[in-house]
Amino acid sequence: MNNVEKVLLTDSQIDDAILSKTLANIMGRQVDFADLYFQSSQHESWMLEDGIVKEGSYNIERGVGVRAISGEKTGFAYSDDISPLALQQAADAAKGIADVGQGGQVQAFTRQSPIQIYQAVEPLGSLSQEKKIELLHHVEAHARQVDSRVSQVIVSLSGVYEKVLVAASDGTYATDIRPLVRLNCSVLVEENGKRERASAGGGARTDYSYFFEVVENKARYLTYAEEAVRQALVNLVAIDAPAGTFPVVLGAGWPGVLLHEAVGHGLEGDFNRKGSSTFSGKVGQKVCSELCTIVDDGTIANRRGSLSIDDEGTAGQYNVLIEKGILKGYMQDKHNASLMGVKPTGNGRRESYAHLPMPRMTNTYMLAGESDPKDIIKSVKKGIYAPNFAGGQVDITSGKFVFTSSEAYLIENGEITTPVKGATLIGSGPEAMRNVSMVGNDLKLDAGVGVCGKDGQSVPVGVGQPTLKIDEMTIGGTQ
């Protein structure tokens, strides 16, 4: 018995026999599949502002979600009390979706030992409270030291320690321990009455030692402070962005938000089963420029979006979504995979035990191409270079998507020139991806800050891409 089983089951007087009995109770109706998802999480956050540690908080959550699937129907109930009685009540409620009759058989549990994509570390205790406070102060001091125009600094640190256990009627039995840490620095810079704010940060599925690792000859947490100040100062001198259609060069790394919005959501299995995505029914067809190979990869060590197992117990996988422009397949959870006659892809995710799983992205990125990023810039006579974004949104049915730059520059005659203010870029997913005309050799993943929202559920994700050029996009500036 591992520690997860002890905390989630044994301590609440639940054993294998009760799990099997609960699943058998649900399958006593015309149910095709049932699963139980146990979860406990501890979450802490600390916030420094005006040079003092203003807030600290600690959150504990614990519960079980019970799901019954009959054809396309799903019954779902959950409880914040993990006990044999609560489990039975949730099961009785969830199975109500299905008609009276006999469902499938409950398979004997197979205890899985998937490859650990991240270590089972406990982040909250990995650093003393004193050291956490010191870290916040160090980030602040560094930001102020970098430039005297920094007038305010907000630093936040958070850590999550989550344990999950999935038991399902198909014999799935899997546990996972998921650490997640995040550090963020936000600054306000002021000059001649003009103010700009910017923030930078990062994180990973590991403990707080991540922030002290040396990158580019300095501790990682210092780079966050420097990056926030750098971006804010760029925006202080930014001129109004142009309005209209221009060639756009997106920087490597976080601008991979493009792929998440323009392609990723549209390739989630639920939308494609229902035929509501602009990519529905297009497997095998050319949907992007042949320069584009896009993957969703839950297997990168310690990454924010990575999963040793997804929330249905399927091992995290490396899935090629688009290969040289051709659509290869969708991201699936068990329910949609079974209805579409394909295999689950390790993308069944849920915000918590109190939410239903859905097909979701993990780390979505484009593989490197062959162009030198310098040549990509050189190829543009008049356009925009956008190395940083604030976020994006997509309408998967019409394919229209937006993303908003937080750092951008004009490209004039093949050179990056004046910074321009943040602006929203809009395009149609398939069209924008067909217009990708150059792909850099500099693939980079984001710093570990992504949060994806779908149907009111938030999950941590990663994105990445090399520098790339889209021949035509609409830039929402004012000039």
Binding site: Y58, I60, G71, F76, D80, L188, E190, S398, T424, G476
Partner: protein
């Protein structure tokens, strides 16, 4: 409040029981050395059903509880929360909060709201209207709603379904000033999302209604028809050329404009000097025909509350009077940082009514949706906004948009894949009229907003 006998409603019994637990939690915090503490506890239960293409898709039973505690110890603050409401977890949570307060800094501005501002009684605002409904009935209502959309036009080729949610719950708030208040509430909503067209030309849209009182919800047939007509109206959109034009924000998205205004006058952004409306109190922010009133105590209204999330009593306020800013939106903390008094806005605003005084002279017919289109003349009607391109620090605004091109007061054709951009300070001053076509789905009751000029980017 409700015709139901209180003694037989388990939710109301539970509310009383939770009050006891909150009082106990406060005592425990005190015994652990906190010199001040506040506890908020909420519970929500309900049923959500979803149908799609005439079949049941989801049946979800909601049953959530959460407790949050904040303790103060000689000017230092610690918070903790839990969704696990067992005795053991509660004790751990309080200990965690007290422990955290050992490490945070002394902050002169932190602490409970001042005692004389607190609501010692929870005024009954008629927010609790439980609906006895079983799964089958709920499914039937959602099915009728979706079917009405599917039947209304052959171009509705697909659906993302209809859903009905019925929730009841309560909130209890207590603090070491001796305040202990709570109230039950309900929320019911019916929504429908359908897809018009097929293949490479599909458009999705939705319609919904939400009410504290189930019997006041729009009928499923109405909602279904509206969803269908919205989706169909968007088919075969054009892109516009890049140009400067007047823009009409339809009433159902006009609240986003007021939302940016709310962010700009919120204490947190003001004391951080992160607003384009610093020092705007008493000055003209809008044209003089615009007034905004806050009415927190409207019976059954969605954003009604007798007290804010710090227990401060809410009251009627003028936010904008003849274009001029009358108040910031403050919490105890932001008020102390600014040397002011809290306005009871911890947790957000409470029912805003946006008024255009010209309507009184012209009559509301003169400012209904059709009249607003006429006033727009030729320009852009925006019905959907995408993305987050709003910078509250300097007011820069750039968002993705979809809607309709309007010529001579008539809708000409749908448009999409465009952006609209400007600066909020200038957009606020550039309001030409606010309609009488009030949208009542949220916390802000507003008509459509017509703005003199914005930059549209397209092809």
């Amino acid at each position: 409040m409700t015709t139901k006998n209180k003694a037989t409603d388990p939710l109301l019994d539970q509310l009383e029981e939770v009050k006891g637990r909150v009082a106990k939690a406060l005592e425990l915090a005190k015994s652990l050395g906190a010199d001040g503490a506040e506890v908020a506890m909420s519970r929500q239960q309900g049923l959500s059903v979803g149908t799609r293409l005439g079949e049941v898709e989801n049946v979800e039973f909601t049953n959530d509880g959460a407790l949050g505690i904040t303790v103060y110890q000689q000017g230092r603050k610690g918070s903790a929360s839990t969704a696990d409401l067992s005795e053991k977890a509660l004790a751990q949570t309080i200990e965690a909060a007290v422990n955290i307060a050992k490490y945070t800094s002394v902050d002169d501005c932190s602490g409970l709201a001042d005692k004389e501002l607190l609501a010692m009684q929870a005024q009954d605002l008629d927010l609790y209207h439980p609906k006895a409904i079983d799964t089958e009935q709920a499914i039937e209502i959602a099915k009728v709603c979706e079917q009405s959309a599917l039947d209304s036009d052959s171009r509705i080729g697909n659906s993302d379904g209809a859903s009905l949610d019925c929730f009841t719950g309560f909130k209890v708030y207590g603090n070491s000033h001796g305040q202990l208040v709570g109230y039950p509430s309900s929320r019911h909503s019916l929504s429908c999302v359908v897809i018009a067209g097929s293949g490479d030309e599909m458009q999705r849209d939705y319609a919904y209604d939400v009410n504290r009182d189930f019997s006041l919800l729009d009928s499923g047939i109405t909602i279904g028809k509206q969803a269908a007509s919205e989706a169909i109206s968007r088919l075969n959109p054009h892109k516009l050329s890049t140009q400067k034009v007047p823009v009409l924000f339809r009433s159902d998205i006009a609240n986003t404009i007021w939302g940016h205004f709310i962010a700009a006058i919120s204490g947190g952004n003001l004391y951080r000097k992160s607003s384009f409306l610093l020092d705007a109190l008493g000055t003209d922010v809008f044209p003089n025909f615009v007034s905004i009133q806050e009415r927190p105590h409207i019976a059954k209204a969605l954003a009604s509350s007798a007290f804010d999330s710090e227990g401060v009593v809410t009251q009627d306020r003028d936010i904008i009077n003849q274009g001029a800013l009358q108040t910031y939106l403050l919490t105890s903390y932001s008020a102390r940082k600014l040397g002011l008094t809290t306005t009871g806005h911890a947790g957000g605003i409470h029912n805003w009514l946006v008024k255009d005084s010209n309507i009184a002279t012209k009559g509301s017919k003169a400012a209904d949706f059709d009249a607003m289109l006429k006033t727009l003349g030729t320009g852009l009607l925006v019905t959907e906004l995408m993305g987050q391109g709003v910078n509250v620090v300097n007011g820069d605004y750039s968002r993705g948009a979809a809607g309709f091109w309007v010529e001579n007061g008539e809708i000409a054709y749908p448009v999409s894949e465009i952006t609209i951009a400007g600066n909020l300070a200038k957009m606020f001053k550039g309001i030409i009229a606010v309609g009488s076509d009030f949208d009542k789905h949220g916390s802000i009751c507003t008509g459509s907003i017509l703005i003199d000029e914005m930059q549209v980017a397209g092809q």
